[in-house]
C-alpha cells in the first residue's frame, strides 16, 4: 500500500484537505471532532480502497459497459434499477483485495470495541449545499463482525451506482471511470433518545425558525419513518420554544415530551455552532442527552425550494422501506383491490338502458370520477407496491448471490392471477375447437372469411349453436367475455369485440406450437420449491421468518400488480359502456351531427348534451389516439439492422413482426408472430403464448411482459426505443433474448449484387490489358 494513498484513515486524524479522499460525510464528522463535539469513534475507508477494489476486479469496465450499451436518456427507470441490481450483484460477488481487508481488520481491532457498527456512505460529492442527495446511497446499522463489515462496505460502494444515484447521475457527475466512494465505519452509539435538528424550517427557510425532533431509541427509527417523532419549533434567533407537537407512537408516554428545555438548549447551541463553523444551515442527526449528546451526522439542509417535485422525486417514492411496504401490502390487498373489484362489479351490474337523460349523464360522471380516483390510487399506491418484487430481488441476491441476478423470478411462478385464469379459460376453449374439427372449421371460415367485413358475433353464434358441441362452446365463450373481457384497450371494450377474442381462440386451436397459457399456474412447482429451499438455506434458520415475509409480499405484489391493471381496465370499460349508451341515445334522438371515435373527451360532450336537451347538433370530434399509421414513419435511406434492448427472457426466435397497437391487432395476431408493442399489458397477455418472440419499447427485467415471457419460455427483448416505429408489420426479425438484440431482416447482399448488374463495367483485369 502506498503510504500517500492510505486505504483507511482514523476519523480523529484527518485534515480538511482530505475531503476528496474521505468524502463529505467523513470530512464533516472529522471537523466536528476537531471542534470538540462528541462523535462516535471510528475510521474511514478511503476512496483509494474503493479504487483498488474496482481496478482489481475491473468493475469500472463492467459499469461503463452496463451504462453505455444504450443511450442513458433512452433508459427507463426500471432499466436503471436493473442496471443497478446487476452492478450491485457484481460488487457482492467480487473479492476485496487482501491488503484492504487486512488494513480494515487492523483498524477494527484498534477501535477495541465489540459494539455493533454503523457503516455509512461518504461520497466526495454528496451533501453539497446546492443539492443534498441524502438517501441515494446506502448506510447499514448494527453491523457485527468482520465478514458482515466487509459485506456492508461492498454494498455501500455499490450504492454509488444505486438506482437512485444513477437517476441523478448528471447532478452527481457520475462517471464510471472517475467516480469513487469512501465509507465511514463507526461504533453504533445506542442511547435512549435520538433525533434530528434543522437550522431552519426546510419548507420555509426564510422564516426565523429552527426545528428539533426526537424519538425513543436509534435515530434510524426517525429517519426511515418507523416512529413518529416529538417535534419542537424554536425561534432561530433566540432559541425560544414556539411550539411543541408530541409524536403519535401510541402507548402511555404519549404527551410527555422526550426532551427537556436543557436538552433543547444544548441542541440549539449545537445548531448555532455548526452553522458558524461550516457557513450553512445544518441538518443534524444526534443521539443521547446532556453530556452524552453525540452527533451522528451534519449536512446542509435541502430546502423544499431547492428540490423541485419532478419525475425523479416521484421515483424515489417508488422505493418504500420495509415498514411502509408492509403497510402498503395490507392496504392494497385488504382494502383497495377488494374495493376496486366491488366498484367494477357494481357498475357492470347496472342497467343503463332504463336511465333517463339526466340519470345517464350522472352515471357517466360517476364513472369518470371513479376512474380519476382509481387512477390516482394507481399512481400513489399500486405502482409503489410493485417495489415488493424488487425488494424480493435484492433480498434474494444479497442472500444467495446467484450468478444470474434474475434467478429469483422463478419464485414468482404459479401465482393465480386474473390474467392467468383468463388465459386458461381461452386455452380450454381452444381445446374444445381442436377436438371438434367441424366446429373449428365453421368458426375459422366465419371469423377469418375473406369476403367483406367479419360477421357479427350474433350471426356466428347462431350457426355455432346448430353444431353438436356448439352450445357448450358458446356458453364457455360468453362466460369468458363476461368475466374477463370487460376491459378496455385502445378505446374499445374487448367485450364489445367478441370477434377479436374469437380469432385468438381459433389461432390458439390451430397453432402447432401449442404453448399453454395455464402453465403459469400449474408448471414448474418443483423449481419454485428448490429456489425457496436455496433462499432459506442462505439466510439461515434465524432469518427464515423474515425471508418468508419478503417472499409473501413479493408474490403478493406481483399478483396484485397484474390484477389491479385488469380491474382498473374494467372501470375504464364501464365508463366507455356508459358513454356508448349516451351516444346511442343521442343518435336515436337524431341529435348527433357528426360522430367521431369515442374517447375520454367524448364523455364530457355527452354529459353536456344529455343535460341540455335544447342542444340539437352534437358533434363528437375524432380523438387522437393510437393510430397505426402515425407511428410508422417511412425512412428511405436509413434502416435499422440491429436494435438493442434488455435481454428480458432468454431464447432465440425468428418470425414476422406483428405490431399490436390497436384492438384490431389482437385479431390479426398469428401464432409464431413476433409481438411488437409499446408495453405488454395484462389485458393482452393472452397473446403471449401464441407469440414466437416479443419486442417491447418499455424496458425492464421485472416488468410485466418480461416475467410472463420468462414463465412461458417466449424469447423477449424489451427496452427497444421506438420499437413500434422502427419495425414494419410482416418484416422478418430475429429476437435474441439471451443478449437483448433484435436483428432486422436477413443478412442479404442483394443490393451489392444488383449494382454490378447496373454498372456492368469491365473487370479491373481487363483494364490492365
Amino acid at each position: 500500500m502506498d503510504s500517500l494513498k492510505p486505504y483507511v484513515m482514523p476519523l480523529n486524524d484527518v485534515s480538511e484537505t482530505d475531503e476528496k479522499v474521505i468524502g463529505g460525510k467523513a470530512s464533516k464528522l472529522a471537523k466536528l471532532v476537531g471542534m470538540g463535539y462528541r462523535v462516535p469513534s471510528g475510521f474511514c475507508v478511503t476512496i483509494y480502497a474503493y479504487n483498488h477494489f474496482i481496478e482489481t476486479n475491473r468493475l469500472d469496465e463492467m459499469i461503463a459497459f452496463e451504462l453505455g450499451r444504450k443511450r442513458f436518456q433512452d433508459m427507463r427507470w426500471e432499466e436503471i434499477w436493473d442496471a443497478a441490481l446487476r452492478i450491485r450483484s457484481s460488487f457482492l460477488r467480487e473479492k476485496i483485495p487482501a491488503v484492504i481487508r487486512n488494513t480494515i481488520m487492523t483498524s477494527l481491532k484498534k477501535m477495541g470495541s465489540e459494539k455493533p457498527l454503523a457503516v455509512r456512505s461518504s461520497a466526495p460529492k454528496e451533501d453539497t449545499a446546492r443539492a443534498s442527495f441524502a438517501g441515494l446511497h446506502e448506510s447499514y446499522i448494527g453491523v457485527t463482525g468482520m465478514e458482515d463489515l466487509l459485506n456492508s462496505i461492498r454494498l455501500v460502494w455499490a450504492s454509488l451506482w444505486s438506482d437512485a444515484a444513477l437517476l441523478y447521475q448528471k447532478e452527481l457527475g457520475l462517471d464510471p471511470l472517475r467516480s469513487s466512494m469512501a465509507v465511514v465505519v463507526q461504533e453504533l452509539v445506542q442511547e435512549d433518545i435520538s433525533g434530528v435538528a434543522f437550522g431552519c424550517d426546510p419548507t420555509a427557510p426564510e422564516e426565523d425558525k429552527a426545528i428539533i425532533e426526537a424519538v425513543p431509541g436509534l435515530c434510524q427509527n426517525l429517519v426511515d419513518g418507523t416512529l413518529d417523532p416529538d417535534r419542537w419549533l424554536l425561534r432561530k434567533s433566540t432559541g425560544e420554544m414556539l411550539a411543541f407537537k408530541p409524536g403519535d407512537r401510541g402507548g402511555a408516554e404519549k404527551g410527555t415530551p422526550l426532551l427537556e428545555s436543557d436538552d433543547l438548549k444544548l441542541l440549539y447551541r449545537a445548531l448555532q455552532g455548526i452553522e458558524t463553523l461550516f457557513g450553512w444551515q445544518p441538518d443534524l442527526e444526534w443521539t443521547g442527552r446532556n453530556d452524552r449528546l453525540t452527533l451522528l451526522q451534519a449536512r446542509p439542509i435541502t430546502t423544499s425550494q431547492a428540490a423541485p417535485k419532478d419525475d425523479k422525486s416521484y421515483y424515489l417514492t417508488l422505493r418504500p422501506n420495509e415498514q411502509n411496504l408492509k403497510k402498503l401490502a395490507q392496504r392494497v390487498s385488504e382494502t383497495l383491490i377488494p374495493q376496486l373489484e366491488k366498484e367494477g362489479e357494481k357498475m357492470a351490474a347496472e342497467d343503463l338502458s332504463k336511465l333517463n337523460d339526466r340519470e345517464l349523464s350522472e352515471a357517466i360522471e360517476t364513472r369518470q370520477d371513479a376512474l380519476e380516483k382509481w387512477k390516482k390510487i394507481y399512481w400513489d399506491e399500486f405502482i409503489p407496491f410493485a417495489h415488493g418484487v424488487r425488494r424480493l430481488a435484492t433480498y434474494y441476491n444479497d442472500a444467495v448471490r446467484p450468478q444470474d441476478p434474475y434467478e429469483f423470478i422463478g419464485l414468482l411462478r404459479g401465482q393465480a392471477m386474473r390474467s392467468t385464469q383468463r388465459n386458461r379459460k381461452m386455452m380450454e376453449l381452444s381445446e374444445v375447437l381442436r377436438s371438434d374439427p367441424s366446429l373449428l372449421e365453421l368458426i375459422r371460415d366465419q371469423v377469418f372469411g375473406e369476403k367483406g367485413p367479419p360477421p357479427s358475433w350474433q350471426d356466428v353464434r347462431h350457426q355455432i349453436h346448430a353444431l353438436p358441441q356448439g352450445l357448450n362452446f358458446v356458453r364457455g365463450f360468453e362466460s369468458l367475455l363476461e368475466e374477463y373481457m370487460d376491459v378496455s384497450y385502445g378505446r374499445a371494450r374487448l367485450k364489445d369485440r367478441p370477434e377479436l377474442v374469437l380469432k385468438t381462440v381459433v389461432e390458439m386451436a390451430i397453432s402447432k406450437e401449442h404453448s399453454v397459457a395455464g402453465d403459469q399456474v400449474t408448471g414448474g412447482q418443483t423449481d419454485v420449491a428448490e429456489l425457496e429451499k436455496k433462499l432459506f438455506r442462505a439466510v439461515g434458520q434465524e432469518h427464515i421468518e423474515e425471508a418468508k415475509e419478503v417472499l409473501r409480499i413479493g408474490r403478493m405484489s406481483w399478483r396484485l400488480r397484474d390484477d389491479d391493471n385488469l380491474l382498473l381496465g374494467r372501470i375504464e370499460s364501464q365508463l366507455l359502456r356508459a358513454v356508448h349508451v349516451g351516444v346511442e341515445l343521442l343518435r336515436s334522438e337524431g341529435r348527433l351531427q357528426r360522430e367521431g371515435r369515442v374517447g375520454e373527451k367524448t364523455a364530457n360532450i355527452i354529459i353536456a348534451a344529455l343535460r341540455n336537451p335544447s342542444q340539437k347538433k352534437v358533434i363528437i370530434p375524432d380523438e387522437n389516439g393510437t393510430e397505426r399509421k402515425s407511428h410508422h414513419k417511412k425512412r428511405k435511406s436509413v434502416k435499422s439492422r440491429q436494435l438493442i434492448g434488455q435481454p428480458a427472457a432468454p431464447g432465440l426466435a425468428t418470425g414476422p413482426v406483428c405490431r399490436v397497437l390497436v384492438p384490431e391487432d389482437f385479431g390479426a395476431f398469428k401464432a409464431g408472430n413476433i409481438l411488437v408493442c409499446d408495453a405488454i399489458q395484462p389485458n393482452m397477455t393472452h397473446l403471449v403464448p401464441l407469440a414466437g418472440g416479443i419486442i417491447e419499447r418499455r424496458g425492464g427485467m421485472l416488468i410485466h411482459g418480461a416475467i410472463i415471457a420468462r414463465e412461458l419460455g417466449v424469447p423477449c427483448v424489451n427496452g427497444v426505443p421506438n420499437a413500434v416505429d422502427l419495425l414494419e408489420d410482416g418484416e422478418l426479425v430475429t429476437v435474441d433474448g439471451h443478449l437483448g438484440i433484435v436483428t432486422v431482416g436477413e443478412p442479404e447482399f442483394d443490393l451489392e449484387r444488383d449494382i454490378n448488374k447496373i454498372y456492368l463495367h469491365p473487370k479491373v483485369s481487363d483494364l490492365l490489358k
Binding site: 393510437t626 443490393l751 451489392e752 449494382i755 490492365l768
Partner: protein
C-alpha cells in the same frame, strides 16, 4: 430522462401515448467518423478466401465514393482484379481503447473500379493528396493503381451492437 410510465391504460386515458426518443442522425455520425479516421481496412476476396488490408482513404463530400491506392504487385490488387465487390471497415477504437460502448464503426460495401485518367482520376488523386500529403510520392508512382469505390450502403454500429443501414 423518460417519464415514469407504468402500464398504460387505454392510450386515450391520461398517461398513455408513445414516447419517441430523438432519432440519431446516422449520416452525421458516419460523416463525423470518416472525417476523424485516416485509415480503414479494405476487405477483398478471391479463391474463396477473404483478405484484409489496412489502407489510407479519401472520400467525396456526398459520401458516395471512396478513393484509395495500392501498388500493382500486391495481393489486394490481384484480388481486386478477380472480384470487385469489396467492403471497407472504419472505426474509432483508437479514441476509446477502454470503452467498447463508445466506439463507432462503419462497414461500407461497394464496388471497386480502377481509374487511370480523366476527371474522376484527378479528383481522387487530389482528395487523397489533401488528406494524406505525405503519400504524394506514392500516389504519383507508375506502379500505384488508384481505385474508386462506388458505395452501395453503410452499416453503422454504435454502442457495441446497435446497427443501422444507410444508403447514401
Amino acid at each position: 430522462m423518460n417519464s415514469i410510465d407504468e402500464p398504460i391504460f387505454g392510450p386515450e386515458f391520461g398517461h398513455g401515448g408513445f414516447e419517441t426518443s430523438e432519432e440519431p442522425d446516422v449520416e452525421h455520425s458516419i460523416r463525423d467518423l470518416l472525417a476523424h479516421q485516416s485509415f480503414c481496412v479494405l476487405c477483398t476476396q478471391g479463391q474463396s478466401q477473404p483478405y484484409g488490408s489496412l489502407i489510407a482513404f479519401a472520400f467525396t463530400d456526398n459520401l458516395k465514393t471512396f478513393f484509395f491506392t495500392t501498388p500493382l504487385a500486391t495481393r489486394k490488387f490481384k484480388l481486386l482484379s478477380e472480384c470487385n465487390r469489396i467492403a471497407l471497415v472504419i472505426d474509432s477504437r483508437c479514441q476509446h481503447p477502454d470503452d467498447m460502448t463508445k466506439v463507432g464503426a462503419v462497414t461500407v460495401t461497394g464496388k471497386a473500379e480502377r481509374l487511370q485518367s480523366g476527371e474522376e482520376f484527378e479528383q481522387g488523386i487530389a482528395l487523397l493528396k489533401s488528406r494524406h500529403p505525405y503519400l504524394a510520392h506514392f500516389l504519383e508512382s507508375d506502379s500505384t493503381a488508384l481505385f474508386k469505390v462506388d458505395v452501395v450502403r453503410y452499416f453503422h454500429v454504435t454502442r457495441f451492437q446497435e446497427v443501422s443501414q444507410w444508403i447514401p
